[in-house]
Amino acid sequence: MESDLYQQLIMNHYREPHNHGKLDPCTCHAFGKNPLCGDEVSVYCIVDQNILKTVQFEGAGCAISQAAASMMTEMVSQMQVDDLYDLYERIDQILKGELESGELSGELEHAYAAIAQFPMRTKCARLPWKTLVNALQGKTENISTEND
């Protein structure tokens, strides 16, 4: 049972996060926090010619939020910003459980699908994504996914 939510892949990302650390200078960044549980994520990006050249994160919180941030950085680096918005929507669908497992590609998507089985925890996985999108769109308001 533990394995469903805390799959090996997620735990690996949690224990050894990829693309971790502050990025300074950067072209944009944002901060997200879920006040109820205290999860925090900062996302830093270097965007060049509409391509996300580099993305890094810092944060503190539960395994899901931090692993989701790390996995996210894997998925989005070198992406066209527009394609990234499409991916964001797709991740959202996965987290809502709207895609069948046959429609998923790659182990990272499967990891998000595992989180989707725990509706109270999907907000943790959504936090880094929403923070990234807000960074790219230059939004500065408080970001939380607790009421999404």
Binding site: P35, L36, F118, P119, M120, R121, N142, S144, N147
Partner: protein, 404 residues
């Protein structure tokens, strides 16, 4: 639709009262509940219950999803544009008070006025009186015509630029009058006034479509819509609802709390403080599911047919005077009998198994306007049948004989 089957869904209709078959004509005060509501409540408390919104464990997850799911059902019921336009309250009364204290009180002042009507329920009068004492605003009242219609000419005259808010009932709980709320909303908006519609007596009977009506706020009680007690709905058009100030403080309605400064949550949570009536809301969702299976036009037409049948029957009894006779009215019959006090009418009806409400129906100004101390009221719901009406009609000769 098979009316007998529908009646079988309501356990109370199978009961006898005072040794007589029950003819329940008090749905305007509160509606009976279909069995599925009780079953859902029991199942929820037995197998799924926990507090919502603040947990990751299984039961709190099941409860939260079931609770939030009902918001979507109410959105569908009202054809609201967004789910976060639906606020759960404790009832119509609380919904109106919330808007009074947190929207009208902070935004209106001494030079402003609000417009209500002479046929309002006390719930749509007293909150405005209470806040008017605080902010000095004026309360203007649209009179009611002899047939029970709103005096729309007076409405037009009273709708002056100082009127910033209009609060009006969709259907009168006493007279049955169906007000031209769409016209009222349009005129009010043209005047720059916001509008609250008290839908307590409309929601149980007819289609109420927020996007079609265009009102700023719409309120009603679950217990009159065949759901549990202790649950109400406040609908608000998002841009307007988002201007409503926090009212009750507590859990869930905040973003972060500190002694230096607290920040507030987004809609709908900002206006829902503390542990909500979780089971009540979930039972209400079941009532809405049940209702959705019975065509609303069939329901309303059936009620109007019974009204028609009842009014024809009453023609036999010239001693009975009906208040509220405007064409197109809903199926509510408010009546007085010359020389017999409403309480005695109510007791004699009750002894014959007929439940009618007696008193002022929380519309004292209307009683005064029609110069009656109290009345009896038979309110018809879709689960009533001709036999109920016949039983009701059969009591009148007994009353005349007894008090004659």
């Amino acid at each position: 639709m098979d009316l007998n089957q529908i009646r079988n869904d309501f356990p109370t209709l199978q009961e006898e009262v005072n040794g007589k078959r029950l003819a329940y004509f008090d749905s305007g005060a509160s509606a009976l509940k279909p069995r599925v509501v009780m079953d859902r409540l029991a199942q929820f408390y037995e197998k799924e219950y926990s507090n919502v919104h603040r947990g990751v464990h299984y039961l709190s997850q099941v409860s939260t999803l079931a609770f939030e799911d009902v918001r979507g059902k109410v959105q569908t019921f009202l054809n609201a544009a967004r789910e976060d336009e639906i606020i759960f309250t404790a009832g119509t009364t609380e919904s109106i008070n919330l808007i009074a204290y947190s929207y009208v009180l902070p935004y209106l002042g001494k030079s402003d006025a609000i417009l209500i009507s002479e046929m309002e329920h006390h719930s749509n009068i007293v909150p405005w009186q209470l806040i008017a004492k605080m902010n000095g605003m004026d309360i203007k009242v649209v009179p009611v015509l002899d047939n029970g219609a709103l005096d729309m000419q007076a409405f037009d005259n009273l709708l002056t630029p100082d009127v910033k808010f209009v609060s009006i009932t969709h259907v009168s709980n006493t007279l049955g009058t169906v007000n031209p709320v769409k016209e009222i909303i349009e005129k009010a908006h043209a005047n720059g006034s916001k509008v609250l519609v008290d839908g307590a007596q409309a929601a149980p009977h007819m289609t109420v479509d927020m996007q079609e009506l265009g009102c700023d706020f719409y309120v009603f009680s679950a217990h009159k819509v065949f759901g549990p007690t202790g649950v109400g709905v406040l609908y608000g058009k998002f841009e307007v609802l988002d201007q409503v100030k926090p009212w009750q403080g507590g859990g869930d309605m905040i973003e972060t709390v500190s002694f230096e400064g607290t920040t507030f949550n987004v809609l709908p949570h900002r206006l829902e403080a503390g542990t909500p009536n979780i089971a009540g809301v979930i039972g209400f969702g079941e009532a809405l599911d049940y209702l959705a299976k019975i065509d609303v036009n069939w329901r309303y037409q059936h009620e109007l047919n019974l009204l028609d049948y009842a009014m024809k029957g009453l023609k036999e009894f010239p001693q009975v005077r009906v208040l509220g006779t405007v064409p197109g009215k809903a199926a509510v019959i408010c009546f007085v009998i010359d020389g017999v006090h409403a309480h005695d009418v109510g007791s004699l009806m009750d002894m014959n198994g007929v439940s009618v409400r007696v008193g002022h129906h929380c519309t004292e100004p209307l009683m005064k306007r029609f110069k009656v101390p109290a009345t009896a009221r038979a309110s018809i719901s879709f689960y009533n049948n001709k036999e109920d009406i016949d039983q009701w009609l059969s009591v009148f000769p007994k009353i005349f004989k007894f008090f004659g």
